[in-house]
Symmetry: C2
Subunit: 430 residues, 2 copies
Amino acid sequence: MDKISIGLLGLGTVGGGVYQLLQRDNEAINRRLGAELVVEKILVSDLKKARNHEIDKSLLTADPKDVIDNEEIDIVVELIGGTKVAKELVEAALKKGKSVVTANKELIANHGSEIFDLAESAGVEIDFEASVAGGIPIIGPLKDSLVGNKIVKIMGIVNGTTNYILSKMSEGDEYDHVLAEAQELGYAERDPSADVSGDDAGAKIAILSSIAFNSRVTPKEVYTEGITSVSLNDIMYAYELGYAIKLVALAKKRGDELDVRVHPTMISLDHPLAKVDDVYNAIFVVGDAVGELMFFGKGAGDMPTASAVVGDIFKVAGNLKKEKKCYSTCTCFNSFNVKPIDEVESNFYILMEVLDRPGVLAKIAKILGEEGVSLGSVIQKQSSGNLAELVFMTHLVREGNLRSALSKVSDLEDVDRVCNVIRVETGEDG
Amino acid sequence: MDKISIGLLGLGTVGGGVYQLLQRDNEAINRRLGAELVVEKILVSDLKKARNHEIDKSLLTADPKDVIDNEEIDIVVELIGGTKVAKELVEAALKKGKSVVTANKELIANHGSEIFDLAESAGVEIDFEASVAGGIPIIGPLKDSLVGNKIVKIMGIVNGTTNYILSKMSEGDEYDHVLAEAQELGYAERDPSADVSGDDAGAKIAILSSIAFNSRVTPKEVYTEGITSVSLNDIMYAYELGYAIKLVALAKKRGDELDVRVHPTMISLDHPLAKVDDVYNAIFVVGDAVGELMFFGKGAGDMPTASAVVGDIFKVAGNLKKEKKCYSTCTCFNSFNVKPIDEVESNFYILMEVLDRPGVLAKIAKILGEEGVSLGSVIQKQSSGNLAELVFMTHLVREGNLRSALSKVSDLEDVDRVCNVIRVETGEDG
């Protein structure tokens, strides 16, 4: 099989995640590309540093030339961060005719224009899905899937640290205490200023608005206000008035002008963004054809970000391959069985009407137990006349067992009828 | 400029929407493709039927051959629906070497395998983003952006009619009454059986699970239970136990078996899907690298569906174009100004502490009024000692005006301090 060779710049948490994802069995990628993605070289700053993951040591190098000048390498993946070394190496790679994938929001937000010009004149591609909102697909959908729309508005919760802090404050905790807790949990940096000032969100909305409105917006053009001035009092009054306070990165088109800013924003409690809590991110997009959309997920972390990087590598690799045939539409190369419903394990809610007399519950529970139906909770309520309603919540049980137990329960004289059985998605089964 | 020619099969609500979107100025599409998308022919069943939109009559034909056998046409867009005529025409188009875009879930769910084989042997592409969840980008992200993940689970609210009914029932309305109301509003068909039986959702989860697990799943393999047995009583007990009842289309991989089904499901009120109400759709995806994602939006309707169709046309057209250079990475061909923050209009929340004595509110309101700051609501509360807290919610006001008004208000002897000013996103400004 053909191979497409990858050079990684950086092997920190995200770099390690990308390496892991590329090392494992990737049948879907290989079949659809008609080629294998192979990590050829990895630039690290310290060859001797202990690594979390098992890494083939022969791949490591401390010399950028081993990646940039390497004729074997088709795609360079930049995961160093910042705008100094990263910028030099990305530019060098593009000039050498290599396509680039990066997760670097500062680089794209501040120097996107030069970098894209360079890519275009070199006839190569640069992709950067991971630079905004980690693993959430947003740049691809905005650029491609929604290309038929005029984008009206983007409202993003694109900084997990501040969303965590505001969420916890809305439960009554003071800023300083929540920040300390977030730092302990690894949700906030030791120096949280880039997050709490809104600068991180500012770089991200600069990227998103550039794409949405086809017009370059740089971070210094984005009005930015952080969350440090938000008090518990504000949050309480907001709630009383029907609003949640979120750090929103906002972009709208108004005539031939753009309105792009980041600041604490009161959002109606009914709005989908108001319900996005903790470290989650979400981007709410309004297009003139599609209406309201929201993309929700984890906006940071090694593996979510690595997921976005690998998606971009796949995209670039597909464009590098000449033979379009490999891009076959059908991706069903497995043939798994679909389980018959009787063999599926679920948690169940069961509502039944029974005669309101002593011992009924015990009889039912006995039958359920004999059939392997284990109960989580039971509610009993007086219904009409001499009937009572029983509500059972079961632990995980094979559907076939439940059906057979319920058929026996229905036969009891004391049981008027089983009114309904509803599956409960508890996540208990993963 | 080059052109890429489109043949539309069908000019119903979605077809009309696609035609409209392709007719208007599409600079982003044209520049990025280096080609224009041109509608060449439209197959209709009745040439004389009155149309909602202005249509160039010379494009219309009642003869399928004018599209299928038309050498000019590069991409055939099937918007007829069903699996009879639509299937014949899609197959004929693929055999003629034309790429196909379709919104037809029955066709893809039931005959995907044959159709994809045909496309592959003809060396063309078939795309079908609009077949699941209307305008929400889900098939593209699942196939491409998330290709580095092993998909663990998909849980979708993919039928707007039943979600509307269950949402309204959770407010205490009986099924029959809500259904009648939904029919009046156009949210439910005269014959709602495909929706309320779960069959519509079944076809959609067959498509999504085929993609997620790279293994063909057909609708008849999907266990399906509708919402007609869900009672107000069930919804009330569920709520009491901390759950919402939703019609969930679910797919999980368990070892080498798939668990794919559609049924009313109790979901924890904390789960993002529990908050998806009315006709909205949402697809919750868990990938082993990316973690939890959710894609939310309108799952039906002419323009949302047309948005997805145009996104697919763009994708196919990009693959048809040989010169990769046109796919330049930079999409910033406009140069809009970003508004200075002083010129931005917002609604504001203002919290201030004032001396608790008569006439203060009047003085403040007078200054605000003079500066053009119009008030929505005011809350006044006793604070500590001789201070009171005032909370104002303004109507839309230019930020510069507000700043100047607040500076004058701060100068008042009666005003201790303006504690905070937070922008409110009411949607009042669109």
